[in-house]
């Protein structure tokens, strides 16, 4: 049964992708129908899989020779990822019915989205490192293809390729890591590696730990490999919601969480994870504060929130990180989909051109505020519980300076969320009157996610229980939901952070009197707006490569005599080498 469910969870979206492609762009209605029905079915099968979690492979396919055995292990960590992928995925697909209406290349769109959903689920459930890398790369590919979905727009194409290349660069860490594990452990199985991690030579383990961290940083858009995520906002908004907020970017967090038990004792590793998380949380929040583009602001906010999850793993709170991952997937998808409703309605992504939408788009306003509550971390939204849990763990197990940094992040979050809500929904209207307040299918998925914001935290108990049962290496303790809620509400950390949140919102309200400080921060803001110099670094590398390539093109003179020189030159070079060497 579990095996069938696993196959359905991964296979249904893939079959759906094929069906949508075969349906052809001439029949858009059928395409919408096929895509949404199959993705809903896949979502259901993923949820049902929650009842079949296990720490043993439920499906093994021997691949022969060097490819090992492809196993699927539906443990809590993996199934959580699969459930998020398939459920948020089906909501994004439903949202797309209205969002993508009239697009010419619907087949390609749905096929890629569903191909992605299946791969993301597979990434979570796979128990073999090769299989995991396999899915890891497919998600990267789908992300690229969807970011540059509008291939006529050179900006979108550039953004897509940039995203692909940066995540692939990080992926080399995972690739080499997987190969090394196979070579030392003799198997690609993750469980085998976690069992034998301590027997590996020390320097190999260090290499693995930091290789995996590099892969995770690139995938989760953490500083300094974050520059692709804001650019990725060229993608259709449901894709941003699905891939660049709710699922694929979580893969990095998932990776560090998955291998936490193995690398925990590598000196400096947990600190590195923690520092990466903290810096990303702070810089992401700062950048969100100055961004003018609604989607980019949300993207920076994603970087910041993923930073919280990294921080959680860094202090050893694997459960807290996964709990926040779940909450974040729901509320950030909600926020992005709201943006997806707002942007076509007003015809711009620039928040300065918006304003006053509270009255003209009341429904979207309501759900956006619900999402904001969760993002800021106010009770009783899911973000409140998960973020407070992280902060509490940080206070208990992490260094004080890091805790203070994260607390600062909480304040900044409150500040930028207030700014965002205000710029979009309050004040004077700066642009055209919106043409709608969320179409029917948009409202369906927004409603579902809003309900999720208030309810998913109730799953904390179940989740911790499942994780305790199926993750033998992570040492997660089962704890009841209400017990956890009580603990969080009574913890001093919570009250401190609520105070900070209030302070953050207060600063926004008092922004007029505080204008002097704002002017003082302007140069800083400019630097932040330019991506903190990471963008220049990227450009430098690209230009260097281009110049090198242009110089090398000159060597292909097309003249026969120079071609012969290549032969004679290599001949003398090799003989000379032999002469020196022998």
């Amino acid at each position: 049964m579990a095996a069938i469910l696993v196959l359905l969870t991964i296979g249904l979206p893939w079959i759906g992708a094929l069906l949508v492609l075969l349906t052809g762009n001439e029949r858009p209605k059928l395409q919408h129908a096929v895509a949404s029905i199959i993705s809903v079915a896949a979502g259901i099968s993923a949820v049902v899989l929650l009842w079949f979690t296990s720490d043993q492979p439920v499906l093994s396919i021997p691949m022969g020779s060097v490819f090992g055995v492809f196993t699927f292990v539906p443990d809590a960590l993996g199934v959580l990822l699969a459930v998020i992928a398939n459920v948020v995925g089906c909501l994004a697909v439903i949202f797309s019915i209205d969002y993508m209406k009239g697009n010419e290349q619907l087949g390609r769109y749905y096929a890629l989205v569903m191909f992605f959903i299946g791969a993301m689920a597979g990434l979570g459930i796979s128990g073999s490192l090769l299989l995991m890398f396999f899915f890891w790369e497919i998600t990267a590919f789908c992300s690229y293809a969807l970011i540059s979905f509008d291939n006529d727009d050179p900006k979108a194409v550039a953004a897509g390729i940039k995203a692909l290349i940066i995540t692939q660069l990080g992926g080399i860490g995972l690739l080499v890591g997987a190969l090394i594990i196979n070579s030392y452990v003799g198997s690609y199985q993750i469980s085998a590696f976690l069992t034998k991690a301590e027997t590996l030579p020390f320097n190999v383990l260090v290499l693995l730990a930091f290789g995996f961290l590099a892969a995770a940083i690139a995938k989760s858009a953490q500083v300094p490999l974050h520059t692709w995520l804001p650019d990725a906002m060229e993608a259709p908004t449901p894709v941003s919601a699905l891939i660049h907020a709710a699922t694929m970017v979580n893969a990095g967090v998932y990776l560090v969480a998955r291998f936490f038990p193995a690398f925990e004792d590598v000196p400096g590793w947990t600190t590195s994870v923690l520092v990466v998380g903290m810096i990303s949380a702070l810089l992401g929040a700062l950048m969100a504060l100055v961004a003018a583009d609604l989607k980019r602001a949300l993207a920076y906010s994603t970087i910041s929130q993923l930073g919280y999850m990294f921080f959680a793993v860094g202090v050893g709170a694997v459960f807290a990180s996964q709990f926040h991952l779940l909450s974040h997937a729901i509320f950030k998808a909600l926020l992005f989909l709201c943006a997806g409703a707002v942007i076509p309605a007003v015809g711009t992504r620039d928040m300065r051109q918006m304003g006053g939408l509270r009255k003209t788009m009341p429904f979207v306003f309501t759900v956006f505020v619900i999402g904001s509550l969760a993002l800021v971390g106010l009770p009783i939204a899911n973000g409140f519980f998960s973020k407070e849990l992280i902060l509490e763990e940080g206070l208990m197990h992490g260094p004080m300076w890091a805790y203070i940094g994260m607390l600062l992040g909480v304040g900044l979050t409150a500040l930028y969320v207030s700014r965002m809500v205000f710029m979009v929904f309050y004040g004077e209207s700066h642009g055209e009157k919106p043409i709608h307040d969320g179409l029917f299918w948009m409202r369906v998925s927004l409603t579902a996610l809003s309900i999720g914001v208030f309810t998913t935290w109730l799953l904390a108990g179940v989740l911790s229980d499942l994780m305790a049962q199926t993750l033998p290496f992570h040492g997660v303790h089962a704890i009841g939901t209400f017990e956890l809620a009580k603990e969080i509400i009574l913890a001093p950390a919570t009250w401190i952070s609520i105070a900070v949140i209030v302070l953050g919102i207060g600063i926004w309200i008092l922004r007029e009197p505080l204008a002097g400080i704002k002017n003082l921060l302007r140069p800083v803001a400019r630097i932040i707006e330019n991506g903190l110099g990471f963008e220049q670094l990227n450009q430098g590398i690209i230009n260097g490569t281009k110049n090198l390539s242009a110089a090398l093109h000159l060597t292909q003179t097309g003249q026969l005599n120079w071609n012969i020189l290549g032969i004679v030159g290599m001949l003398s070079a090799l003989f000379a080498l032999l002469f020196i060497g022998v």
Binding site: W562, I564, V568, S572, F575, A576, L578, F579
Partner: protein, 200 residues
């Protein structure tokens, strides 16, 4: 009469080889230095002739014959034919690769090759007893079969490449030939006309 003892004979032999091989290299160099293609082809034939003598001295009589007939004979004829068709345009311009660089590389790799290859082991005297005919036709018969394939594809390639060209480009050749003839005729007229006027 003084008899030539073995040592002197060996020295003489070496001297003969030296002269022949040296001449072959000289001929090759002349071939590459020659301004006209025809001369270059003839120097190449010279290399062939000299080498076939070397082959004969080395005991490879059959190869010597074939080198003489194919290398010096057939190939030269083919070259002369090709040159007559393609025209002997002397390209005396500057070489594309700087000559010192070419010199340097060639000498450098040549010296290294000498270092690696020379000196060789003393020659063995155990020449297998079968005849060349047996070796060529039987032992290495497969080489011959592949060679037939090679000749077949070579002929097909030749036919393919030289098959009648399409009109427009050939036209230019025709024009060129016509112009050439025109010019020659004019030259002839210029030289012939005074003769007519001569008192005789």
């Amino acid at each position: 009469m003084p008899t030539i003892d073995t040592l002197e004979w060996a020295m003489l032999e070496t001297l003969i080889y030296g002269i022949l091989v040296g001449a072959a290299i000289f001929s090759a160099i002349q071939s590459l230095r020659a301004d006209s293609l025809l001369r270059s082809a003839i120097w190449l034939a010279g290399v062939s002739v000299l080498l076939s003598i070397v082959f004969y001295l080395l005991g490879a009589y059959q190869v010597a014959v074939i080198e003489l007939s194919v290398g010096a004979g057939l190939v030269t004829v083919l070259f002369v034919f090709a040159i007559s068709v393609a025209g002997d345009e002397g390209i005396g311009e500057r070489s594309l690769v700087p000559k010192p660089l070419a010199w340097g590389l060639v000498i450098f790799s040549g010296l290294l090759l000498i270092y690696f290859i020379l000196p060789i082991k003393a020659p063995l005297s155990t020449i297998s007893k079968t005849s060349l005919t047996a070796v060529f036709w039987e032992d290495r018969g497969l080489d011959l079969l592949v060679q037939i394939v090679l000749i077949y594809s070579g002929v097909l390639g030749l036919v393919g490449i030289l098959a009648e060209a399409k009109a427009p480009l050939q036209q230019s050749m025709v024009d060129e030939v016509a112009a050439e003839r025109e010019r020659a005729l004019q030259e002839m007229e210029q030289t012939v006309v005074p003769e007519v006027d001569s008192p005789i």
